[in-house]
């Protein structure tokens, strides 16, 4: 591989220490530079090890009990199990852990995804939907012109909650997850990680990210397990409000 003049940026990028402009420049460069891609993988492996060097602090004794109590109040939600062959039991399962109003709104969207091309529906009916429901919709499209992945982001009226629903995304292998990015003034905020099932269907609940209506655009990239501090992998979906 040819040594690269931007190799000195790799460590800062892996750490998430580049400023917004540098990060954007480097991401454009990274997509075409094998040398930096290899360096980035090596630095990320190094970073994975640093956590064990945090000075040890004893957690409160009650914490274990609190976690187990909360866990037993919810059901674990394996995302990669296949959908039931028929009926709506999977929908009921999916929404058991959600607030009622949120579940109703998401249910409407999921049903639309299954039985219609919801993105077309949204485009044609955006105005009517905006008037009929208190929710905001953002369509995310496949960045590959030949790809057919898509997603819909539903945002609550106050912007405090959102749900991303994807369809036709590739099932990821190795160490990867999909990661949602919320973009405001060039700064990318982690929106959360998700995977998809064998049908390319996945979902992600977004909360505690500030007002989602303040973000100008949204993107989905492929990232290593646990996610990244800033986008490092291939961008697969993008959309703007």
């Amino acid at each position: 591989m040819i040594p690269c003049d931007k190799s000195e940026w790799v460590a800062g990028y892996a750490l998430g220490s580049l400023d917004a402009d540098e990060r954007e420049q480097f991401e454009r460069h990274l997509s075409t530079c094998q040398s930096c891609q290899a360096d980035l993988r090596a630095y990320q492996s190094t970073l994975d090890e640093l956590a064990v060097a945090a000075p040890r602090v004893e957690p409160p004794a009650r914490l274990r009990t609190v976690i187990l109590q909360k866990a037993t109040r919810t059901t674990s939600q394996p995302l990669q199990t296949a959908r039931p062959a028929s009926g709506f039991a999977w929908l009921v399962q999916l929404f058991q852990a959600h607030r009622t109003t949120w579940a109703i709104a998401s249910l409407v969207v999921i049903v639309a995804l299954i039985f219609t091309n919801v993105l077309v529906v949204v485009q044609y009916n955006q105005r009517q939907q905006a008037e009929a429901t208190p929710f905001h919709f953002v369509a995310l499209h496949d960045t590959n012109p030949q790809g057919n992945g898509n997603a819909l982001l539903v945002i609550s009226d106050d912007g405090q909650f959102g749900t991303l629903i994807t369809d036709n995304l590739k099932v990821l292998v190795d160490q990867n997850n999909y990661q949602l990015w919320l973009v405001k003034d060039g700064t990318r905020t982690d929106g959360g990680l998700f995977t998809v099932n064998s049908a390319g269907y996945g979902w992600l609940k977004i909360q505690e990210k500030g007002n989602l209506l303040d973000y100008q655009s949204f993107g989905v990239t492929v990232e290593p397990a646990g996610g990244s501090m800033a986008p490092t992998g291939q961008k697969v979906l993008g959309g703007t409000q």
Binding site: D48, A54, L63, K70
Partner: protein, 199 residues
């Protein structure tokens, strides 16, 4: 020698992947075991990032509840369970720090100075013993870095600071900060390769 013939074989403790499978099956005892192994590490990492016990507690809860809810997304070939846990924890903690909008002073962050290995459960599984050994190697590697490089790296890693923010906190020129972080990462990477800690 006959004692061995009649003694009851000790059950083999489940490894981390077994625990993940237990969690997928809805066994809260598996989550409890995973917490017993790594709860302290996750809490320590979160505490080092956010700097207060209450928020670190919330983050630790979030991490283990995320594992509980999304264990099915873990694939064995992804790497170690502990790496997944710490990666999620760091991510959430830096996110929380940014939401709070507070910027720490430089002296509030550092790596563990001790060179002693962590105490591990005497019936600990292979992963715990390995974690203790890795921890020791990493701490020794960090101890070989000059103190200004350690500090810059700690601010970037634990506080999620950009080069510019580190330069402001440490009152050092931006170029100096960039160089320190790059050299620190290069040296750590080399030391860890030499120690054969990588794969």
């Amino acid at each position: 020698m006959f004692l061995g013939l009649f003694s009851t074989p000790q059950p083999v403790p489940p490894d981390d992947t077994d625990l993940i499978h237990g969690i997928i099956a809805g066994k809260s005892s598996a989550l409890g075991d995973l917490y017993d192994r790594y709860g302290r590490l996750v809490f320590s990492l979160a505490f080092q990032v956010v700097g207060d016990s209450g928020t670190a507690e919330e983050i630790t809860q979030e991490v283990f509840l995320q594992i509980w809810n999304k264990a099915a997304t873990y694939q064995t070939e992804q790497g170690k369970v502990v790496t997944w846990l710490t990666s999620v924890a760091r991510h959430k903690a830096i996110d929380a720090l940014r939401r709070k909008g507070a910027r720490p002073e430089g002296h509030q962050v550092n790596f563990e100075n001790g060179s002693e290995p962590d105490l591990v459960d005497p019936v600990g599984v292979e992963e715990q013993v390995e974690l203790s050994q890795r921890s020791l190697v990493i701490r020794r590697a960090i101890a070989q870095l000059p103190s200004d490089q350690q500090r810059a790296l700690a601010l970037a890693y634990f506080k999620g600071m950009t080069h510019l923010e580190i330069a402001e906190v440490t009152h050092e020129p931006l170029g100096t900060v960039k160089t320190r972080i790059r050299l620190a990462m290069l040296k750590l990477r080399q030391i860890l390769v030499d120690e054969n800690i990588k794969h």
